[in-house]
């Protein structure tokens, strides 16, 4: 479980960073999306990995040890929504930039590349 999660975070981060430094706007957006997935997984990991432990307390007296920490899950939900919204906004700016400059290079002009 730990290995799988850390591998997932690592691969997502590496791919995201590589794409982030590419010169095409679409690659940058995909890179940022991958990075945000990696960060979301990381936040889950910050709440400690637990299996078979629900984050919601049922009726009756509760033993805190039997439940997963609900807070990181709430944080991840918020983070997902926010990064979704900002990515959508960035897509609009990408389209506007493509329309205005006629190229999808991040600097608005094609270099030698």
């Amino acid at each position: 479980m730990e290995v799988a999660l850390s591998l997932a975070i690592g691969i997502l981060t590496a791919s995201g960073l590589w794409l982030l430094f590419r010169p095409r706007t679409f690659q940058v957006i995909l890179g940022l999306s991958l990075l945000s997935y990696a960060v979301n997984l990381f936040i889950i990991a910050a709440g400690r990995l637990r299996t078979d432990a629900p984050p919601i307390v049922g009726k009756g007296p509760a033993d805190a040890a039997a439940y997963a920490d609900p807070l990181p899950q709430a944080l991840v939900l918020t983070a997902i929504v926010i990064s979704f919204a900002t990515t959508a906004l960035l897509l609009v700016v990408l389209m506007a930039s493509r329309g205005l400059t006629g190229t999808d290079h991040v600097d608005g002009e094609d270099g030698e590349a």
Partner: protein, 541 residues
């Protein structure tokens, strides 16, 4: 939590939110109504901020638990001297920028007032909140609004600049989340005051994790503050933005500075055990490098907007280096400098456009652009152009006067508030018995930055204003002059009341050095604190 005045703290967040929803529901053509609403809200926010400062001065830090949940489970808003002071600064800048925008800029794109009010809400929330994840949310609110505001007016330059701006800020936000997650994984809390308490008693083995988290978190704020080498986006973005937007963006770098100041006071103050004084040296060096970069940028800049952008960097550098050095007197001085320089830069951004309009060149900032999305306007722009208000004569005299005033303020020449601020900084540095080499460098760079600003401003003034040209002086409306005058008047008032203001800053600095007041207000209350801790540590196991 029964008196109505207890709820005053949340007004700076709720009021602009409600007003921006209201302006959103109004048609683009009902501009007058929108102007009245947003200007009224901005003026009201100045009054609320003054009231909050008053109460923070009288009673010390006050916390407001949202939903009246027991702390630390509630998200708290904390109003202390520092946050209310920043609130007042924000609302003054918000009011003057909005007022300036009504001259013509709010017509150059859709939903200006809605976005502007949302930006103010985000900034106010970031200053008030006492919860680190809530801080992230408010950061995203203000960033989302700023993304759209940069684009306001459209055009190739703005779109290109905002593409970079959005990309770097999303990346910084991801770093923010990583930092928050790391801090949470060690302490099990997101409440800043509670975080300070938990860190003071944290295990030594976890210290590395805490420091890593704080460092990653810090990078996110330093990107906003424009520290070198993470600052290359700033001059271009601010230069591309329309003038009223750039003028209010002057406070946005200060949001980063504020958070650094707040967190280093809470998490890495004198009493926080092993982590005390974390990253101070890094801050000093990075601040000095930022100043150097900014000074060179000011000298190399060929456009006034670039001068202003690099001046923002210089002031960020001075503030960061001073935060790194620390100490009560220096903190008080840096707060005074923060207020003075923010007002001055904002005034400069507002005055640049009329000054450059004078110069007979292609319009550098870009006039009112064509709409991007046709369906959004519904005839909002086509209708009667240009009733810019009363056109006043003697344009050059007034512009020149304001420009000189701005230059003196920015360069820090006597007798204006910029001078007092820089003098206080240098005086505080000299008060130490032993003056470290970095302190000497800081002093030299402070003086050099004044010189560089003076050179750049003189050059620009001769180039744009004081060379007799054959072109007739341009039109200048009263609506544009008033906000610039207001900002400069505030600086003048700051100079005249420097004594009392400095006393206030001194008390603020004392509270930052010893944040027990903040912690007891915002942290877990005595009655409900322990069960909360038990639950959290139970989960932590």
């Amino acid at each position: 939590m029964t008196q109505w005045s207890d709820h005053l703290i949340i007004v700076p967040i709720v009021l602009p939110l409600a007003a921006s929803a209201l302006t959103l529901s109004l048609d683009e053509r009902r501009r007058a109504a929108k102007r009245v609403i947003s200007l009224g809200v901005a003026a009201l926010m100045v009054a609320v901020a003054v009231a909050l400062i008053w109460s923070a001065r009288e009673t010390g830090p006050v916390a407001y638990r949202l939903g009246d949940w027991p702390s630390p489970f509630a998200i708290v808003l904390v109003a202390d001297r520092l946050s209310t002071m920043m609130l007042l600064l924000t609302s003054v800048l918000g009011f003057t920028s909005l007022y300036y925008a009504t001259a013509r800029w709010d017509r150059s794109g859709p939903r200006f007032h809605t976005l502007f009010l949302l930006l103010l809400m985000g900034i106010n929330g970031a200053f008030l909140t006492g919860d680190i994840f809530n801080l992230f949310v408010f950061f995203e609110v203000l960033l989302a609004a700023s993304y759209s505001l940069i684009l306001h007016g459209s055009g190739t330059e703005r779109t290109g600049a905002s593409l970079h701006y959005i990309a770097i800020n999303i990346a910084a936000s991801l770093l923010f989340l990583i930092g928050v997650a790391l801090l949470y994984s060690v302490t099990g809390t997101l409440n800043m005051a509670h975080l300070a308490l938990s860190l003071a008693s944290a295990d030594r083995e976890n210290l590395a994790l805490v420091e890593a988290g704080a460092a990653i978190l810090g990078v996110a704020f330093l990107v906003k503050a424009g520290i070198w080498p993470l600052s290359f986006w700033l001059p271009r973005t601010y230069g591309a933005a329309s003038p009223p937007v750039a003028a209010v963006f002057a406070i946005m770098t200060k949001v980063g500075i504020y958070v650094i100041l707040r967190l280093s006071s809470l998490l890495f103050g004198k009493e926080s055990g092993g982590a005390a004084g974390f990253a101070n040296e890094t801050l000093q060096l990075a601040g000095l490098a930022t100043m150097l970069f900014g000074i060179l940028g000011i000298l190399a800049a060929r456009q006034l907007t670039r001068v202003a952008g690099h001046y923002v960097l210089v002031s960020s550098g001075i503030l960061l280096a001073a935060i790194g050095i620390g100490g009560e007197a220096l903190t008080a001085a840096l707060l005074f400098y923060l207020v003075s320089s923010t007002l001055a830069v904002s005034a400069l951004y507002l005055i640049i456009e009329p000054v450059e309009r004078n110069a007979d060149e292609e319009d550098l900032i870009g006039g009112i652009a064509e709409p991007v999305f046709d369906d959004e306007y519904v005839g909002a722009i086509e209708e009667k152009e240009d009733e810019v208000g009363i056109v006043i004569p003697g344009t050059i005299a007034i512009l020149g006067g304001g420009f000189i005033f701005c230059a003196l303020l920015l360069a820090g020449l006597p007798p204006l508030s910029g001078f007092i601020a820089k003098f206080a900084l240098i005086d505080a540095l000299f008060r130490n018995v032993e003056i470290a080499p970095t302190h000497w460098i800081l002093i030299v760079l402070i003086i050099l930055s004044g010189l560089a600003t003076m050179i750049a401003m003189t050059r620009a003034g001769i180039d744009r204003l004081w060379t007799p040209g054959e072109d007739s002086p341009s039109r200048l409306s009263l609506i544009e002059v008033t906000p610039i005058g207001l900002l400069l008047l505030v600086c003048l008032a700051l100079m005249l009341t420097a004594g009392p203001v400095m006393d206030f800053m001194q008390a603020t600095a004392e509270a930052l050095q010893d944040p027990t007041g903040y912690i007891s207000a915002g942290g877990p209350g005595g009655t409900v604190g322990d069960p909360g801790k038990a639950a959290v540590s139970g989960l932590r196991r």
